[in-house]
Structure formats: structure tokens, C-alpha cells
Symmetry: C2
Subunit: 315 residues, 2 copies
């Protein structure tokens, strides 16, 4: 080859370096191109929908932006109770589209019944968490189904609309919906009953967000709770790579970073972030039991517990 | 005296027996005439009220019986969140009068504001638990304020109306209100997410209550949760000695027994007690903190936390 020892060494470094580069980039493509991107396929199912409420004349302003409320949920004893309570509250708000996204392969019949009964404009999705994440120490719960809802909003949402994530166990003052409705990029407000400060809020000086008051910084640029912000749908659609990472505790931060958001662009709501209109309440868990019913084959308890099983209240 | 030794002994027994009887009955009058009756004076305060909703024409039947919903509450970080969530739900129901009774000497301003804002017919009471009960191993929480509300209903309630106890952290399907509205004596239905069976329900055979399906019998005649029954106000007023005992875990049983109720007279609701329209959900507790705010005297966090303190969210 006519190369001396020194040239051969340089050549070997170049070749092996190229091989390492090729292997690494291929590995990234296979195992996820960025931290928190899905490493297993996501299965998504549209169970049912109804857009009837969207053209509704309820309220005085029937051309107001629609609020797309995204509520992830999963089968557990409290599921139907919490969705009933939250869904009834949403019927008090005009121009709402409720996206209920279940972390399961199929949709739950009592939730379908609830959605049909409430008379809201709604979409009912099923999108189970890929199995690989269920084995993690901190399970990124609610990500697969929020991602499915996000995709739905990007595809079907009105550009003038507003996206808002609201968990099924949270408590909300309905005045917050009118606060968030005029959002042009991303708006924020305080969330009560969370973390070491009992609140998570933007710190506001001279009407602008300058930092965050939050008991769990965790290296996050946006130290906010999922219920602490809303996003304009037109703004969302303009972003190139919107995502929510499968990283527990960093879902909000990862999502807001993927919007290319700058802290100075945040719109301040709730009276300069001094009022609390939403709380990160958590409902106490109940064990999922299998009941013995030998003695109750001839009374109401048999039918009652069959109904409870369908609601996910017992095994 | 002309009595022999034997007669003197009999006389002494009679006299001392009479003295013991008089002392015991007087002691009962002073310290409570029955188990669970108050042994210290109860302080009651009517803070504010509004009856505007009662003559309302909302809904088709504006002469339907009024439902008196009694919600006891006490100062804690979750109080305003839970009352906001529940109160908003109640605005979906016609012909409701909401009695919010606080376990405190005075009424809380944000609750007054909430009640005025919701537009419900309401009564806002304060009735602190007598100090003696706060030292008990099982504190009978919510009794002093429910007793105050009970007294209000006996004095001001419409005879055709219906009394219903609903705690601020419970979840309710609004269809339950129409189930309970025609109650003539006492009606009952299942309550979900409670005890070892995940439900508490009457056992119904041939349309009649024959027993109770409840994981905690505890020697109770009526094994029911507070949210599991409604009482006709006219029926309530006819009873001679209506009470609710200061005995934790026996409030419902003591109250229903004081109505002279027989199990065979219970009216069965919720499709023969096979449907769940109310859940004994419990909201996870948050610590009551005192926050340090030296660094936040010139931004929104000072005002935000002042507002939180007024709501009872922090110390």
C-alpha cells in the first residue's frame, strides 16, 4: 500500500472511528433518537367521538376558541368516580372538547356511556404504555395516552383553539377556562397543593415570567405542573418536532422545550399568577379486590358487584 | 321512731337508693342523657345565607321537593379546592339548598365568596366541635357541624324537602339527586369505594331491604355510609328526639335509630341498589406548611401565598 507505520495508524483510527460513528447513529435510530422518545411502537385506537358541542350556541360567544381538555386515565377502582366528577364539571364550560385517553388496549364501556350521557363534544382514545416503560423504576404514567391526544389535536384541532392537560383527580375552578381561552402561544398560572411549597407557580416581575417557584427544580427549564399551562393550537402546529418524553417527572419540561418556547414569551394568567384556580389534588387509592359472593347469588349484590367489575372498581 | 333494726336497714337502703338514683339522673342531665349526647355546650353561628334559588324556575318542575345537601368541612389545605369542585357540581342540580357547616368558630372568607359566586341557594354555618371530643382516640369529626345543619333543617326546611349528607371529598353522579328527590321516609342506595368490600349497600330481596352488605358491621343496626341515604324533612320533623351521636363510626347508625326507623320501611333506590351513583372518595392530605418568603417581597409570590393562607392552604 506504500503507507508507513504512522499513516497506517491514522488510517486505522479513521476507519474504526467511522465504524463507531455508524454503529452509534444506527443504535440511536433503533433505540430512540433522543432521550425519552419511544423505543417500542405505540398502539393507538380511536374508540368513539362526538363533535356536536363545537358548533353549540351555549354561552354568548359561540365563536370563542375551543379548549381541548386532555385527560389521561387508567383502569383502577377510582377511575369512573373521578371521570364522572370531572366530566360533570366540564359541562359547565362552553366550547370544550374533552379528549379522554385511556392507558389500555381498549376503551372502557362505562366511560363511553359517561361521555355519551354528558353531552360534551368529546374524543375517546385508547393508547397503552409500551411494555418497556412499565418496568422502569419511575413509570412515566400518562405519557402514551397524552401523546396520542397530542397527535389528535395536531391533526384535528382548530388553529384558534387551546390545548390544556387536566388529570382526572385534579380540582379546577371553572373560571380558569376563561383565563386560558385567549392564549396566543403558551399561558401559565399557579397550581395549588403540590410539592414542598404547596404551590408551583411562575415568578412574575413587571408582568413577565422571570423564573419558577417550585419545590422540585430537578434541573428543569420549565418547573411547572401539567395543569399549569395551556398552548395555542395554531402555535403548536407550527412547531417542527412536538413531543412529550417518556421520562417520569420531566414530561412538562420536555414538552414545553419541544415547542421552542422562551420563558419571556409566556403569557401570565390568574391575576399576575396570584390566584389559585386549579389544584393538584390526588384521590386516595383503594385496593383492587376480588370479592367472594357465594351467599349473594339471589339478591342485588351479585348484579351490583358485576356492575362494579365493569367499572374497574373490583377484579 | 318505733322502727326495729330490720326496718331501719330497709329504710336506709330505700333512702340511699333514692339518693343514688337522684344523683345519677342529675349526672346524666349534666353530662349527657345518652351515649354520644354532647357533654359540653355547642356553639352555633349563622354566617350568611341566600334563598334565591328556591323559587327558581330552572328545570321543568319548579315545585319539585328541595334537596338540602349538608356538607361539613374544616380548615385544611384541601378545603377550598374540594368545596369549589363539589359546589360547581351542585350548580348542575335544580332545587338544591346547600348547607356548608364549618367546624370552626368563624366562617372562612373564601368559602363565603364561593357560595356567593355559585348562585346556589345556601346557608353558611360555623359550629366548632366541643373541645372534649378533640382529645378522644377516634375523633367524631363532622358531628358538631352536621348537628347544627340538622337543627337548621328542622327549623327552616320545607316539609316536602329531602335531607342528604354529602362530604366535601366525595364524588357524586348528579343522577342520584333525582333518585333521592321523591323520598317519603328514608331512602338508601350503594356507596362505592369504602371498606373491605369496596362498597357499602343494603341487601335487597323482592324489592325490600333485608340486611346490609358492609365490611364493617361493628354492631350497627344500619350499616350505611353518610352518603348512602336521604331523609324526608316532614318525616324528620315528626320524630321526637332526632340526634347524631358524638361517637366516631356510629354517626349514621345513631342518627337513623333516633328517627325510629325500621329496616322494612327503607325505600330502595338506584335500580334496586345495583347502581353506583356516589363514591366515598378521599382526597390525599397535604401538610400544612409555613413558608419562608424573604426573597419574594417584590414579586407575585408574596401575594400568591397571602391568598393561599387565607384559603387555609398554608399556615
Amino acid at each position: 500500500m506504500g503507507m508507513n507505520r504512522r499513516q497506517r495508524i491514522v488510517m486505522a483510527i479513521i476507519v474504526s472511528g467511522s465504524l463507531v460513528y455508524i454503529i452509534l447513529t444506527q443504535a440511536l435510530l433503533v433505540f430512540g433518537s433522543a432521550p425519552g422518545e419511544p423505543t417500542q411502537p405505540e398502539v393507538r385506537k380511536l374508540c368513539s367521538f362526538d363533535l356536536k358541542g363545537e358548533g353549540s350556541t351555549k354561552g354568548s360567544n359561540n365563536s370563542a376558541p375551543i379548549i381541548y381538555v386532555v385527560t389521561p386515565t387508567y383502569r383502577r377502582p377510582e377511575m369512573v368516580a373521578e371521570l364522572t366528577r370531572l366530566g360533570q364539571t366540564l359541562t359547565l364550560v362552553k366550547r370544550i372538547h374533552w379528549i379522554v385517553a385511556e392507558d389500555s388496549l381498549t376503551c372502557t364501556a362505562p366511560i363511553t356511556g359517561l361521555l355519551q350521557r354528558l353531552g360534551l363534544s368529546y374524543t375517546h382514545l385508547a393508547s397503552p404504555m409500551p411494555e418497556v416503560y412499565r418496568k422502569e423504576r419511575y413509570v412515566p404514567r400518562g405519557v402514551s395516552n397524552r401523546r396520542a391526544a397530542l397527535e389528535w389535536v395536531q391533526e384535528h384541532g382548530s388553529d384558534r383553539g387551546v390545548l390544556f392537560f387536566l388529570d382526572d383527580d385534579n380540582a379546577i375552578d371553572v373560571r380558569l377556562f376563561e383565563e386560558m381561552r385567549p392564549t396566543e402561544t403558551v399561558s401559565m398560572w399557579p397550581v395549588g397543593l403540590i410539592g414542598d411549597y404547596t404551590v408551583s407557580s411562575p415568578i412574575v416581575k413587571d408582568g413577565k415570567v422571570v423564573a419558577f417557584y417550585d419545590g422540585w427544580p430537578a434541573g428543569r427549564k420549565f418547573q411547572v405542573d401539567m395543569a399549569g399551562f395551556a398552548v395555542n393550537v395554531g402555535f403548536l402546529k407550527k412547531q417542527k418536532k412536538v413531543t412529550m418524553p417518556y421520562i417520569a417527572g420531566h414530561e412538562e419540561d420536555g414538552f414545553l422545550k419541544s415547542l421552542g418556547l422562551s420563558i419571556k414569551d409566556i403569557e401570565v394568567k390568574a391575576d399576575g399568577c396570584t390566584k389559585i384556580y386549579v389544584w393538584h389534588t390526588r384521590t386516595a387509592k383503594n385496593p383492587s379486590r376480588a370479592l367472594k359472593l357465594e351467599k349473594h347469588q339471589n339478591d342485588n349484590i351479585k348484579v351490583l358487584t358485576d356492575n362494579m367489575r365493569e367499572m374497574g372498581m373490583i377484579k
